[in-house]
Symmetry: C2
Subunit: 112 residues, 2 copies
């Protein structure tokens, strides 16, 4: 499965989540997998891209048709529980930014 | 040094660059470091966050005051040379998205 999101022509929306993990798993791996699966099934979700290095710094960008879809996903009960565990256990620091994608392009031309 | 960008209150702009590295270095490491240093010194650059996993999937998000600053950085000669090498050697696939940050917040409250 491609790790790139197949997004449509802009405009659309993105949630950029940059987060430093604490040490140890504390249930993170299983929950993160489940939350990604759930997010991708939400109405308005266009896809997501996610990576994390060996030092525990991760960036996940999820893409959405509109801001209402982002707000609806934020309020899903299981996701609220995961957000709470994120604050309490999993992340020493995070930055969350909501953005409107204005322009986009892919590359390299003729490769990949 | 913190790996989080200290960005101001929105609105501001972001370039989200998701890219799969090819195998081998081919001069990538040194050039990537130099380009990050140069980008952070450009007028209008607010900071950047970057991470890459062991499979070579990286996400770099750079933050800018406005779209004109992004366009100016794209046209810097050394950066143009790096972009060419990126297309020819370093990336099997990439997605570049330019976004306007609408809202942002940090966490966890009282930690980090």
């Amino acid at each position: 499965m491609s790790r790139f999101a197949r997004t449509p022509e802009p405009p659309y929306y993105a949630v950029i989540f940059t987060a430093q993990r604490t040490d140890g798993d504390h249930g993170y791996g299983a929950m993160a997998e489940k939350m990604m699966e759930m997010a991708l099934e939400q109405p308005g979700c266009l896809g997501a891209e996610s990576t994390r290095d060996a030092d525990g710094l991760g960036i996940t960008v999820s893409y959405w048709t509109d801001e209402a879809s982002i707000a609806a996903w934020k309020a899903v009960a299981e996701h609220l529980a995961a957000q709470r565990l994120g604050r309490e256990r999993w992340y020493s620091h995070y930055e969350m930014r909501i953005a409107r994608i204005e322009r986009a392009y892919s590359g390299p031309q003729g490769r990949g």
